[in-house]
């Protein structure tokens, strides 16, 4: 049974179709990459999966349970964790407190039970030295790390990552890839939207290509990138 399954998920904003009958399965423990040009509906797809935006039609299942009409907070409790493309930190809380909220609410446990876990995530994501600083004082790169750290604190079964490698140096990107691989190795299923293809390809085993809200390719990364349609869409984008 796939851990996450979308069938015919459709959404329009007025005349603009941002998701057109999107269907795919994410297998237990799989890492799936999503690519596509700007405005293809990648982040919208995440918003539909996590419940930040309601679908017009179609169905989403998590571990065999229909979550199509479930609230965002319930989906989080069921094991969906996400990062936002544009970081959305709780600015007036400290970095550590950002994780405490996610840990205590995201897995519905008492606050003092998540201290250790949150601290270790901060170590893993390289934020430990900013633990007691306000999240609003972080740099953009640190905010992106905080997005990942906070999503991890909810103890997700499926982790949705939205462009967290953009703007990193080669070394930083490498360390990020290591972190994500380690998360994947623990059995967390991952969907990762990314423009930095070499980083993406060192983690994912399948690629999904989105354009104008439609799935135009899904399969082995090498075959996908070699296909003419994808090359046309990505012309001018570094591969």
């Amino acid at each position: 049974m796939p851990i996450l399954s979308l069938s015919n998920v459709t959404k329009s904003f007025g005349a603009l179709k941002v998701a057109q009958a999107i269907s795919f399965d994410l297998e237990q423990g799989e890492a799936l990459g999503i690519i596509g040009p700007n405005g293809a509906g990648k982040s919208t797809l995440f918003n539909l999966i996590t419940g930040n935006i309601a679908v017009d039609s179609g169905r989403i299942d998590l571990e065999g349970r229909d979550i199509t009409r479930m609230s965002a907070e319930k989906r989080c409790l069921m094991g969906l964790g996400r990062s936002f493309q544009i970081p959305q930190p709780f600015e007036k809380l400290t970095v550590f407190e950002n994780l405490v909220v996610a840990g205590a609410f995201g897995s519905r446990v008492a606050e003092d039970h998540v201290t250790e876990a949150c601290a270790e995530i901060l170590v893993d994501t390289g934020l430990i030295h900013r633990a007691n600083d306000l999240a609003g004082s972080l740099t953009l790169l640190q905010r992106k790390r905080l997005e990942l750290a906070r999503a991890l604190a909810t103890n997700p079964k499926v982790l949705l990552l939205d462009e967290i490698a953009g703007g990193l140096t080669e070394a930083e990107c490498q360390s990020l890839v290591e972190t994500i691989r380690a998360i994947h190795a623990r059995g967390v299923s991952i969907i990762w939207i990314e423009h930095v293809l070499h980083a993406l390809n060192s983690v994912v085993s399948r690629l999904l290509v989105l354009d104008f809200g439609k799935v135009i390719g899904l399969g082995d990364p090498e075959a996908i990138i070699a296909s003419r349609e994808v090359r046309e869409i990505y012309l001018g984008i570094e591969i």
Binding site: T50, G51, N52, S71, A72, E73, C76, L77, R82, F84, Q88, P89, F90, E91, K92, L93, T94, F96, E97, N98, V100, V101, A102, A104, F105, G106, S107, R108, A110, E111, D112, T115, E116, C118, A119, E120, L122, V123, D124, G126, L127, I128, H129, R130, A131, N132, T139, L141, Q142, R145, R150, A151, A153, T154, E172, T179, A182
Partner: protein, 361 residues
């Protein structure tokens, strides 16, 4: 990702807060003992200060911590007060016994009220709460047994026979009316302590940090599992309870009620907003500062009629322009001192052995 076993801990206490806790205990003891040393008019002033403090703390929890900027809290002051009058006049309750029931009545009213106003956001929410309060005023003005639009008084002598009053009368060797003032003062002090204690407990709990996350970013909060509407509902109903009980207590002391006074937006909400904004919205300390400023201003200018309101408004504007986080916000911004610390600081592990800068910063 392997690392040596580390011990992490969370700390909220600060040196300033420990010192303050000691002073606070002494202040509370002094406040309880006040009737032994000060005159009746001082007790009445202190009663006024404490009641405004309770209202301010409740409104601050609502607006400053839960983001529910209501201008209709007079709905619950009036509802609580009218519930107390109804219980005393129609059911023969002792006024003091009626207080908690009045609080529960206000909290129950908050549930259907929330059903309507929670559909609104921001300015629309504010206007919506005001409209509901006006509806309450008009409805209670129809209650003929309780005097309709002109209002009514508690039966003669009711407050002289309340629980505790005969005892205080004997103890202090004063008239019944003075004894009733002392009893209501002690109740106001108890209510203020309970309110501040409850809010501080709430903010330090998991719900408190959840509220803070909702206030900072609703979408992200929901994505990490925070049930924002449930938290807001808890705060809305809890503040209605406190505000309703306070309303009942104020009208035990005055012993006379009318719909226009009990549902007054100026007395129970505008002044309260002034107190919270001047003192520092979103801090537990702010309302304490705000109420002192308000009390001083009232004593200096209250005789000047509408000029008094103009002065209050001007001071409000000046503070909002130059100290948008209020007087306490200005102070804590400069000194970092918090008397009611809620910040969770991570200590232990690597934080004690190393403080190197994040190289990716």
């Amino acid at each position: 990702m392997s690392k040596p076993a580390q011990k992490w801990a969370v700390q909220t206490r600060t040196t300033a807060s420990t010192v303050f806790a000691v002073i606070a205990v002494l202040a509370v003891v002094a406040a309880f003992a006040a009737p032994f040393f000060v005159s009746r008019s001082v007790i009445q002033d202190l009663f006024f200060i404490l009641t405004m403090l309770v209202l301010a703390q409740n409104w601050n929890l609502l607006a400053g911590f839960a983001g529910l900027v209501s201008v209709g809290q007079q709905a619950f002051v009036g509802a609580g007060a009218y519930a107390m009058f109804a219980l005393v006049i129609l059911a023969g309750f002792d006024p003091i016994m009626a207080l908690p029931v009045a609080g529960i009545f206000a909290a129950l009213l908050a549930v259907p009220t929330a059903f309507f106003v929670f559909r609104l956001d921001g300015a629309y929410f504010a206007i919506g709460t005001w409209v509901i309060a006006e509806v309450f005023r008009l409805v209670f003005a129809q209650w003929k047994v309780l005097g309709g639009g002109t209002g009514t008084s508690l039966p003669r002598g009711t407050t002289h026979e309340m629980v505790g009053v005969p005892l205080v009368k004997e103890l202090f060797d004063v008239k019944s009316s003075a004894a009733a003032d002392i009893v209501t003062y002690w109740l106001a002090l108890g209510l203020a302590l309970a309110t501040v204690g409850f809010i501080y407990w709430l903010l330090r709990s998991k719900r408190g940090i959840g509220l803070a996350s909702v206030r900072d970013n609703l979408q992200a909060a929901r994505s990490v599992g925070v049930d924002a509407s449930r938290l807001k509902m808890i705060v809305y109903v809890a503040t209605a309870f406190g505000t309703g009980m306070l309303g009942a207590l104020v009208y035990v002391q005055t012993a006379r009620i009318s719909p226009d006074a009990a549902f007054s937006v100026t007395d129970w909400t505008a002044y309260v907003i002034f107190i919270v904004v001047i003192g520092g919205i979103g801090t537990l300390e702010g309302p304490f500062i705000g109420i002192l400023v308000f009390f001083i201003l009232q004593n200096l200018f209250a005789d000047y009629g509408s000029w008094y309101l103009l002065i209050l408004g001007l001071i409000g504007i000046v503070v909002m322009l130059f100290a948008p986080r209020g007087l306490w916000g200005l102070f804590t911004g400069k000194t970092g001192i918090q008397l009611f610390p809620i910040r969770r600081r991570l200590i232990g592990g690597q934080l004690t052995t190393s403080s190197r800068e994040d190289t990716h910063g």
